[in-house]
């Protein structure tokens, strides 16, 4: 465990009084105006006091095994002209701005810039059209090598633009064992996603 993980552990200890983790699912769950039906339970992180480097500024963050392992990040209901994500503490980095006319490639580039603020390296793989949350959208796969501890992650993202707003879900988990094990559960949930249009 790197010192970083230690410090994260200690910081999380310190801030635990201000944060809660609650169970979501099974059953129907909503994140803003997006809903999903979950087969099993997930853990939802309530506080924005701690920035997760793999999903800075997400609307909501879920996990099954722990936030430094698998993370389901929701960037949803982001309007035209609003920033996607947030800058890491102590940096003043300007965040990409969502525009309703952005091409999927550009949304992925924006997402990449948000989740690589800590120097992690991101490589997009498949990028294909897909139905998502009741509309036309796209799906992408990626690899992320985390800078802090060199751990390799696989990721998958689903995205659509509805009511001129961005709805993006990104799920990442360690390449070794975890992603393969957990992603089917994620994809079955994604299939049930819906947005009030």
């Amino acid at each position: 465990m790197k010192r970083r993980t230690l410090l994260v552990a200690l910081l999380l200890l310190a801030l635990s009084a201000c944060t809660t983790i609650t169970k979501v699912g099974p059953g129907q769950v909503t994140v803003k105006d997006m809903s999903m039906t979950l087969e099993g339970p997930w853990n939802k992180f309530d506080s924005s006091a701690v920035v997760l480097y793999q999903a800075p500024g997400a609307t909501e963050i879920w996990t099954r095994e722990g936030f430094n392992l698998d993370v389901l990040a929701f960037y949803v209901g982001i309007g035209d002209g609003e920033a996607i994500g947030m800058s890491l503490p102590r940096t003043q980095k300007k965040m990409p701005v969502f525009r309703a006319r952005m091409a999927p490639h550009e949304i992925v580039e924006a997402f990449e810039s948000v989740v690589t603020q800590d120097g992690s390296v991101f490589k997009v793989g498949k990028l294909e059209p897909a139905r998502f949350a009741g509309g036309e959208g796209f799906r992408f796969e990626y690899e992320l090598r985390r800078k802090g501890d060199s751990l390799l992650f696989n990721g998958v993202g689903y995205c659509t633009v509805a009511n001129k707003k961005l709805y993006l879900l990104a799920y990442s988990a360690p390449h070794t064992y975890y992603f393969g094990k957990l992603v089917p559960g994620l994809e079955s949930a994604v299939r049930t996603a819906n947005i009030k249009r």
């Binding site: 230690l6 410090l7 980095k93 800590d118 120097g119 990028l127 294909e128 800078k147 060199s150």
Partner: protein, 394 residues
């Protein structure tokens, strides 16, 4: 904030060896003598502790996935180090790290780090030798142990912990070495001394000393252009707070070079050949920094040296496309068009062209560009999505 101690070239000389007479205060000083090889210090001494700590950092560095393990590149850089460091060569181990920023550093135990951002920015072997020579200068002059003792005696509260925790705070882009390097930031006098030794080593190894001054000239130009975009995990002000001001440095190095005589090898062709395999990857990393001021200056400098290089024009286009302010989109298209006439631009250029033309409202042009991309890469991982762009009518 401790981050400002992350310095360019924080070499750390360590233990043993005769401290050579630091008489090189002025350009007229007696000729500098290379010290004898250093012996490992006693484990219970403060130097020994620092050395052993760096051994463990090196052990961790070896496990990092961000070390570039290409033997050819490693051997090339090590070769330059050995030309400069002479008999100290066996004591130095070079690690090339994938980080798109300008930095090189050296620890008292002989571990040297060179970041890929530095390699991308050097335009000749002599320029790289200048930076490495500076680091070796710190090592040979044992600056780090001076600083360690100075820091301890001042008992600068929280200095060590602050650094360690700052790094642990998640900005893992800065390696532990740079972290510790920041902890042992050199004084300006030490930086000047390292510059002098560096130029001396360059000259003795047959490199053109004036290239050292050019390194700073180039960096300064970049940093000025990038001032507005700076927002990342590297605090640029470090360069100016702990080093003599860049302009002064440029002048001093130019004077030192003049004193040495401006003859010597530049090695631009050798350098380009050595970097060829990695340049595309380094350029991609550079663009992803989203610091367009610096990237643009860097690319324009590279283009001047290689005007027929299509990949460089493509990258310039990318820089404009990603910033997308004011007239950037038009500039991007212009760059892509230039790239089209040259060799070396990747098929992705047509995809980028299509994206920009779409934004500019040139639907017809966009479709041609996307079609061209698909023609060149029919099985690209995003081909299905590109086909939907072709169908779009709005």
């Amino acid at each position: 904030m401790q981050r400002r101690r992350f310095v360019l070239g924080c070499g750390c000389a360590a233990l043993g060896g005769l401290p050579w007479a630091g008489a090189l205060a002025q350009a007229e000083a007696p000729e500098w003598k290379m010290p004898a090889r250093f012996a490992r210090p006693d484990a219970s001494s403060d130097e020994g502790s620092l050395w052993a700590f760096m051994d463990r950092e090196e052990h961790r560095l070896k496990q990092s996935a961000f070390v570039i393990r290409d033997k050819a590149l490693q051997d090339y850089v090590t070769g330059i180090v050995c030309k400069l460091a002479g008999e100290h060569c066996p004591d130095i181990r070079v690690y090339i790290v994938q980080t798109p920023l300008f930095n090189a550093s050296m620890a008292p135990n002989g571990m040297m780090q060179v970041w890929s951002g530095l390699l991308l920015r050097m335009t000749s072997e002599a320029q790289l030798a200048a930076v490495l020579g500076h680091e070796i200068g710190h090592y040979l002059a044992r600056h780090s142990i001076e600083r360690l003792r100075d820091a301890k005696s001042k008992s600068a509260a929280g200095q060590f912990l602050g650094i360690l925790l700052a790094r642990a705070g998640g900005l893992g882009a800065i390696s532990q070495l740079a972290l510790l390097a920041g902890m042992l930031a050199y004084s300006r006098d030490q930086e000047r001394e390292a510059d002098r030794i560096g130029v001396e080593l360059m000259a003795r190894a047959g490199y053109a000393p004036l290239e050292a001054s050019r390194v700073w000239e180039q960096l300064l130009e970049e940093l000025k252009a990038g001032a507005k975009d700076r927002d990342e995990y590297w605090d640029e002000s470090v360069l100016f707070k702990t080093h003599p001001p860049a302009a002064e440095r440029q002048k001093v190095l130019a004077d030192l070079a003049a004193a040495k005589g401006a003859q010597g090898r530049t090695g631009a062709d050798e350098y380009r050949a050595a970097l060829a395999q990695h340049r595309s990857d380094f350029l991609v990393d550079e663009l992803k920094r989203h610091n367009f001021g610096e990237t643009r200056v860097l690319l324009e400098r590279m283009q001047k040296a290689f005007p027929d290089d299509g990949e460089l024009q493509y990258c310039l286009g990318e820089a404009y496309r990603l910033r997308a302010q004011d007239k950037d989109l038009t500039e991007a298209i212009a760059a892509y068009r230039r790239a089209e006439l040259l060799k070396g631009a990747p098929a992705e250029m047509y995809r980028s062209m299509g994206l920009v033309q779409r934004k500019l409202g040139d639907e017809g042009q966009a479709e041609s560009a996307f079609a061209k991309y698909l023609e060149l890469k029919p099985t690209a991982p995003d081909s299905a999505l590109i086909r939907t762009y072709l169908k779009r009518t709005d």
